[in-house]
């Protein structure tokens, strides 16, 4: 009797342990999420329509044309991607193709030998280089060598405004900083928030400083900061820019409660297209999302756009572009030769194909292809032409700061920017804090 009971108990224990053990072992063997099967190259892309659909379409088209060299795409949300890609690269589990914003993040990969040098590949494939905007290559060039292929769209930062609200108060869009400050009380009296801002996301606040620094002192101001020159943040033009933004906060220029609004849910765009805020400084990609989510706001022509106002007496060139010159794809140095071959083939013949370009243009974006403005037609053409001109005529380009700097200093900078906008630190304290952070 006793023996039987023990054997039944142990049988049950074994029966329950076996599936658990088997699944644990199985998890070791098969690939986890985002890993490609052997011989397949992998790429990690960002989510967010309409870009996600276009990216998926380009991968599907490539796979259809290359049945024996497939590419597996996985999609991640923006902020989650930033953490995830670093962890994966650090754990030697990076995808074959690493999507990146270029600049400091790419520099970090290069310094640690995680991505391949593509300069020679570009020399062998000159038409790939000449097809793309010249302004898209500096962010991919580290120490004189090219480490990533520019792709997708150019995203300058644009000052959007609600034409209907401006007509309502009888005002003109601002061309100088003085005019912008003068508009604040005008809109406040009409119970309209002058400027929409998603303060919780912090990089949205940063866009204001990017423009102010450049308009005030020209590109040299941030170039010195990015190069790690001592006390670069204490430059009088920088202090002036920081002060101006605090003046705008004190005047109530930004929507009430802006520190609680996050950009992920497009709540800041909603304020503009719902008629609750008059202006918004944001990336050109929001044109596509406002077109999709704003009902008839964009099609009926209520959305206006202007270059960022100039600062009276400032040394900056109003034609300077600010934002993301392109998206970039880099090649992981840890991938197998077979995977690298597939990836390079994708770079050459899978990115910015005619079908791809048409898709981007139809979504209201401007792909980084020289001469693409001949394809602009339809209701989005005026905005696309504006973006194309900004990108091709800009005499210089300010890369988004949190991408231009290395990730560690970038995070410290975003922290200080949040405090600056909450008025808890002065511009001088901001400069002192940031000067103490090593940027290289």
């Amino acid at each position: 009797m006793d023996q039987k009971r023990v054997s039944r108990r142990s049988f049950l224990a074994l029966a329950m342990a076996a599936p658990i053990g088997a699944s644990a072992l199985a998890a070791c063997g098969t690939s986890g999420p985002g890993q490609a099967r052997a011989g397949e190259a992998s790429i990690w892309y960002l989510t967010g329509q309409p870009q996600e659909g276009l990216r998926k379409a380009s991968v599907d088209a490539f796979n259809a044309a290359h049945p024996d060299g497939q590419l597996a795409a996985t999609f991640f949300e923006n902020d989650a991607y930033k953490t995830r890609i670093r962890t994966a690269v650090g754990a030697n589990q990076a995808p074959t193709v690493i999507w990146t914003w270029g600049g400091g993040g790419l520099r970090d990969y290069v310094r640690n030998g995680q991505v391949d040098d593509l300069t020679d590949w570009f020399a062998q494939n000159p038409d790939v280089k000449s097809k793309r905007f010249a302004t898209s290559f500096p962010a991919a060039t580290i120490d004189g060598k090219i480490y990533a292929v520019p792709c997708e769209q150019v995203s300058p930062i644009v000052m959007f405004y609600n034409k209907q609200l401006f007509e309502q108060v009888g005002a003109q869009p601002p061309t100088t900083w003085g005019e912008l400050m003068a508009l604040v009380p005008v809109f406040q009296n009409a119970q309209i928030a002058p400027i929409s801002l998603a303060g919780q996301s912090r990089w949205t606040n940063m866009m204001w400083l990017e423009f102010l620094f450049d308009r005030q002192g020209g590109p040299e101001v941030f170039d010195a900061i990015a190069a790690g020159e001592p006390n670069a943040w204490s430059n009088p033009a920088a202090i002036a820019g920081l002060t101006k933004v605090q003046d705008l906060v004190r005047a109530g220029g930004f929507v009430n409660g802006f520190q609680s609004i996050a950009a992920d849910a497009n709540a800041d765009q909603a304020l503009l297209h719902q008629g609750r805020a008059a202006m918004m400084l944001h990336g050109a990609w929001t044109y596509g999302s406002m077109k999709e989510e704003g009902g008839d706001f964009v099609p009926s022509g209520k959305l206006g756009w202007i270059p960022f106002p100039a600062i009276e007496g400032g040394a900056g060139d109003p034609s300077t572009g600010v934002g993301n010159p392109a998206s970039f794809v880099a090649l992981s140095s840890k991938a197998s030769d077979e995977q690298k071959a597939i990836a390079l083939e994708y770079f050459k013949s899978g990115l910015l194909t005619d079908a791809d370009i048409d898709g981007w243009v139809a979504s209201g974006a401007v792909p980084i292809v020289n001469g693409v403005d001949s394809k602009f037609s339809g209701p989005d053409a005026p905005f696309q032409q504006f973006v194309y001109d900004s990108a091709t005529q800009a005499k210089s380009w300010v890369h988004s700061w949190d991408q231009a700097l290395l990730p560690g200093p970038a995070d410290e900078m975003l922290r200080n920017i949040e405090q600056l906008f909450s008025l808890s630190i002065t511009p001088e304290q901001f400069a002192t804090n940031m000067n103490a952070v090593p940027t290289s």
């Binding site: 670093r86 690269v89 409660g257 520190q259 609680s260 609004i261 709540a267 560690g408 909450s422």
Partner: protein
């Protein structure tokens, strides 16, 4: 005993040792790991940010305890009783327990949006505040959401304890003329003493490691107002790319949490072996 020990060693002790070793190195996550001795420890322990994080953590811990314990006891007593509709209400009370922290945080973030959230949509001016943007309100909001999520859990614990109180004690008190309130304070609460110790230990340990809710809700809050230790560790390690200092903070969390848990146990512990059963 052995499987549990093996599990604990593999998933508890080994990572702990790994973090201890990491705290003496400099690593940015994707490059080389270089040993640098005690530099990280000195830097972190002399950083005023650490004191601030500790302060925020203890504040949220204390407020959580003050809000959760009385309400959990009351709910627990209510659910253990014999009132009408008790079972229906009990099911409703336990719903927050079934939801993930991340889902709760995302939902509350949308509800608290000053322009499109609950207050603005229903037209209640009192609910339209800068909930997540004002430092003081942000802490209050975090405590509120944490309490909303965990009161059902602690109610469950108290309910089980109240059920175990012998009815004879209440009968004797009723015969002696004690009212409901007097019975609650003289019988129920003292009998719940050890349960309170358990529940408080869980609140203390939970507050020390609370991460996902605050991460989604405020990401450390307006100007670091809700930057608890666990969040500080994550932000230093995975946003600031400084794994060494992040490891130091991880170890600090472990040490403080263990000390606090031992302290709470000690509070009720002097007569730990004393039974509360009558006649013993």
């Amino acid at each position: 005993m052995l499987p549990a020990l093996a599990f604990f060693t593999a998933f508890g002790l080994v990572p702990l040792v790994g973090v201890l070793l990491l705290s003496f190195t400099s690593w940015n996550g994707i490059g080389e790991i270089t040993p640098i001795g005690f530099e990280n420890w000195v830097a972190v322990l002399s950083d005023p940010g650490l004191v601030h994080s500790l302060g925020v953590t203890f504040l949220i811990m204390a407020l959580s305890w003050l809000v959760q314990t009385p309400m959990s006891i009351l709910f627990g007593v209510f659910i253990a009783g014999q009132h009408r509709y008790r079972s229906v209400l009990a099911v409703l009370y336990f719903t927050p327990l079934l939801l993930s922290s991340a889902a709760i945080a995302i939902t509350y973030k949308a509800l608290l949006d000053p322009n499109f959230g609950l207050g603005a949509s229903l037209g209640i001016p009192l609910l339209v505040q800068n909930w997540l943007g004002d430092p003081v309100l942000a802490i209050a909001t975090v405590v509120f959401v944490v309490s909303w999520q965990f009161i059902p859990f602690h109610s469950l614990i108290y309910q089980g304890a109240v059920r175990q109180i012998p009815a004879s004690l209440y009968e004797a008190a009723r015969i002696d003329g004690a009212g409901r309130v007097r019975q609650f304070f003289s019988i129920t609460l003292p009998q719940l003493k050890y349960t309170m110790i358990t529940s408080s230990t869980l609140i203390v340990a939970g507050s020390m490691t609370l991460f996902d809710l605050i991460f989604v809700l405020t990401l450390g809050g307006p100007s670091d107002a809700t930057r608890v230790l666990a969040l500080d560790m994550y932000l230093r390690g995975f946003r600031g790319n400084m794994m060494g200092p992040a490891s130091v903070i991880a170890l600090i969390i472990v040490v403080v949490a263990v000390l606090l848990a031992m302290g709470v146990q000690r509070l009720g512990g002097k007569d730990a072996n004393e039974s509360q059963l009558e006649g013993a």
